[in-house]
Symmetry: C2
Subunit: 595 residues, 2 copies
């Protein structure tokens, strides 16, 4: 969707709106961290995010990758920066094409800084000289497909001879087809308010978003202002002086100053703002909290998982539960599908999942961090202890999940830890929910005034012997269905057909039932390759001949992966009866206390 | 499905099974009554029904119509009788073709009685002489498509010279391709058991169903036995003698005798029986009750409405709620669809409903009965009183529904009656259900161990003035959605899109969510033509110039038809708050007491 349309809508509804700016990190680990951060920050409800242009080569590719992932995996409305620096028109074309392909409809068109090592800006061969040329080119070539933003310089661009010609350049950019202005950072609210006035005076009518930058530390501020020669009012220097060596205090000051600015803008009738996050999370969160801009469930969780914003997947509203912690891999492995399940899984006729390849399966932490988290397990029991630690939140991840357990699993966290210690190595789960309101803080999703439901689900690795015991128990309960498979692909199940089972659904006013998450055997078989391969990845961080590598590979080669659905969601604790856990009883208390 | 396959399955599962035989009634009213009866008797769980062949002309057409309706509207597995009497091979072909077209896969092949007025049986020109010829012909022409049953005569066919040749004829029929024997009636259980033994002795291996006939009255018994010269044991005569003038006592005796027979058969290892219902309901019901053969919800209500058994509609599992009391009309008006909604309404792309024509809209009672029920209303209030009477069960039907209110509306019956008196003329409704077990006696449907839900729904005619008041009230409740339309087609609605609303759904182990009933605007617009036209039909039973006709036509031309969904099914009484009815309060008590 075009950002300009979202802004118009927010303005019509008279509500605040805001956006986050990120830049492409320098390391793969940094990229992974940024993705995690984007996903978390999505819950703060930004109207859109933007990603700066990594001028030239690999860095530019990374921008397009970040944009595509934000758009398709995290479902964030994304704006891609695009500069003229070192960009002959063919490269511009490629970048625009890539943006369009992933469903991104928003470009921030910039001239850009001079190339590294050059003092003055010069256009490259067959390139553009001004942002306005780039805007005009995009409009000519793509018509109305893109929303085009341009930069505004409240204090004037450093290369401009005076403010008057600076305003003229801005007007040129808007006249060339830009529909939104996002300003560079500034440290004086009045400067921005005056800037808006000057824009309106010369006939610029499009929305103007102030770019706000919560000061993170004193030296950082000095560095930032040196780039554009920003004016910082004496008052700010005076207030910073006594705390300049206390980073925490400076951060707190930066947050309060930003909040003060935004309140001032609101009084002046400006309801949107753009945060330069510098890829950080905390300050943005605190600013929004202090402004009481916590979004409602409806706007940030249309479904229990993040829907893609790519055109092809626009109607997708059913996914298997298995990739819950690996959404990116799911998106990639289903990229070739012509149709995505919509309404029910059966709509997509026998979807073929893409093969695993390098990108699909890798640990999301660098080796050293993995070793610190997981140590050197010497037995299946040691491995079980690692899984249990993850459930308790003592370590940050396991190979199957680089994130802490979902808030929704809080209620089952202790029991999950307990069964891991018993040798059921859990990698995915959700508790039963019997009709929570769709606005529920933890379980809620979808439109207002609805109810959401979940069947209890649990997925884990288990030894063949324990599997047999479990299947014997399951056979006595007609409400429990399961699929179990080992690495070789031997499948055991008690389901009678290939029919999917809905495990998450919602009932809303004026709608058909929405059932966004299912359990189904074909998808499970595609998932199991990935799930087993992650043992291999884990083993590879150790010496091939080590005891640890051997025990991990032994588990990989002998254990089964099983998923269990407790179909009776009304009996919210029913699933735990399968595990010799006396709920609220002695054994359970002992187990939970023992770790 | 083939009856023989159903029988084999029942035998494998070691359960009792039974079937009902009906004959084509002589009057249109009789046909309507039979349909109602078939639908009610479906709840007794027959494995199949059969319809006798109305030899020749109109009567034969009626048989094929009854078969098609039972199969497609009521979803009853149906067997069509077919005789050789007066049936040249072209007619046989037509009958078989008609059966196949409506999804009927079962033929009971008979020679048939001699044509009326003839004493001895003779084959017609280009026709068959023996049932075995007919069986052979069907097998040759249709291969395995049909299950073919033939008649067995425990006491020997009246035309057979002796029992030995009679057995030989039977063996011929089986050898020609019959896979099931249904016997003629008899009054001595031992005769049947002996017959089965003799069949097995000469190598007949297919299932043999005893045809049982609960004696209805003394003279009827005498007439029945005169046709085939049946033997009635002296004991039965003796027991009937003292009660022969007391019809009720004879019926009771007939029921007990049949139950005794069936118990005896069961001891002999025969688990199925076929009831000659003579189009009556009560005796069959009592026999089944006394044998404790009340079927479970699962087997008789796979969905809240009766799914068709025609091949084309095999996957259909979503219907609009509007035709709840006029299923036949729905089937007819959607006959031309290539695909039927399955999983969700959206699957069937913009279905076009067939136009109304003669068969679609007519009163289901003869004029005299209508006049007795509805009298001569002289005002809108008089009309409202008729609707209220129907809700209270004082009269049997209204033009929109020829049946008593569903058992499920029992809980809202008093309130329905009350709002009718207030001028809201209800024609369809269902109460809210928040997760009843799928085995629930009243609300249950679908597989075992599931839960079923309903949103409260109500549909009624209302004056424009009352409509405005209602819409004002609805606008204050975000949980209520409605569509209102007058005869001219002016639509008012508060729904934002054409999306359907699910009003009945079920959650079952190992399945996606099933949502068999929806409310949707296109379907509603198709329904409203029919709903308004029924006022016209009603008016036509009166003199055109009469006050009654005028008042009815005035309502037709000025009122709106409105459907209301209370989306919050958790608030089970929420819908009533729209009607100035103080629930459990004074006004309500007064209104309910006043009629």
């Amino acid at each position: 969707m075009k950002v300009i349309d979202k802004i118009r809508k927010a303005e019509e509804e008279g509500r605040f709106f805001y956006s986050f700016e990120y830049f492409p990190p320098k390391t793969p680990q940094g990229v992974q961290n940024l993705y995690d951060r984007m996903e978390r920050m999505q819950r703060f409800g930004p109207e859109f995010i933007d990603v700066t242009w990594g001028a030239g080569g690999t860095s530019a590719d990374l921008t397009t990758e970040l944009v595509a992932t934000a758009q398709s995996v995290y479902g964030l409305e994304t704006m891609m920066h695009l500069t003229c620096t070192n960009m002959p028109v063919e490269k511009i074309d490629n970048a625009l094409k890539a943006a369009k392909e992933c469903g991104c409809q928003n470009i921030l068109a910039l001239r850009g800084d001079p190339p590294k090592g050059q003092l003055n800006w010069e256009s490259c061969e067959n390139g553009f000289s001004h942002a306005s040329d780039l805007v005009r080119y995009i409009r000519e070539k793509y018509g109305d497909y893109f929303s085009i933003a341009v930069a505004g310089y409240p204090e004037g661009h450093i290369d401009s001879p005076d403010q008057e010609s600076d305003m003229k350049y801005l007007k040129d950019k808007v006249d060339a087809g830009a529909d939104l202005i996002v300003t560079q950072l500034f440290f004086d609210a009045d400067v921005f308010i005056d800037f808006v006035k000057r824009c309106r005076d010369i006939g610029i009518k499009c929305p103007i978003l102030p770019g706000v930058f919560p000061i993170q530390n004193y030296n950082g501020l000095k560095r930032v202002i040196s780039f554009s020669n920003n004016h910082v009012p004496q008052r700010v220097w005076d207030e910073l002086e006594p705390i300049k060596d206390d980073d925490a205090a400076v951060k707190e000051y930066g947050i309060n100053l930003t909040v003060e600015f935004i309140r001032k803008f609101r009084e002046a009738g400006i309801n949107g703002f753009h945060i330069y996050t510098f890829n950080l999370e905390r300050s943005s969160r605190l600013i929004l909290e202090r402004l009481q801009l916590v979004p409602d469930t409806e706007s940030i969780k249309p479904l229990p998982w993040n829907p893609s914003l790519t055109a092809k997947r626009a109607k997708e509203n059913v996914r298997p539960i298995f990739w819950k912690n690996r959404a990116k891999s799911y998106i990639q492995r289903t990229e070739s599908w012509d149709e995505f399940p919509n309404g029910r899984w059966g709509d997509s006729r026998s979807p073929a999942f893409g093969e695993l390849d390098g990108y699909g399966v890798s640990l999301k932490y660098p080796q050293q961090e993995c070793l610190e988290m997981w140590g050197h397990p010497k037995s299946a029991d040691d491995i079980a202890a690692i899984f249990a630690k993850y459930c308790k939140g003592t370590i940050a991840g396991i190979p199957w999940s680089a994130q802490q357990l979902d808030p929704e699993t809080e209620v089952i966290r202790q029991r999950l830890a307990a069964i891991n210690l018993l040798g059921y190595l859990t990698i995915n789960s959700q508790p039963a929910v019997n009709g929570a309101k769709s606005s529920h803080e933890v379980y809620g999703w979808g439109p207002k005034n609805g109810y959401v439901y979940q069947k209890a689900y649990i997925e884990f690795f288990v030894s063949p012997q324990k599997l047999d015991e479990l299947i014997a128990k399951i056979s006595k309960n007609p409400q429990v269905t399961f699929h179990a498979v080992n690495r070789q692909g031997d499948l055991k199940t008690n389901t009678q057909s290939d029919q999917p089972t809905a495990v998450t659904w919602g009932v809303f006013p004026g709608k058909e039932i929405v059932q966004p998450t299912i359990v189904e055997s074909t998808a499970f078989m595609a998932w199991k390759d990935e799930a087993f391969e992650l043992w291999n990845e884990w083993a590879q961080i150790y010496d091939r001949e080590s005891e640890t590598a051997k025990v991990i590979l032994d588990v990989m080669n002998s254990y089964y992966l099983i998923n269990i659905v407790m179909n009776d969601y009304v009996d919210e604790n029913g699933i735990w009866k399968l595990f010799n856990l006396e709920i609220d009883g002695d054994l359970s208390a002992k187990l939970m206390g023992s770790q």
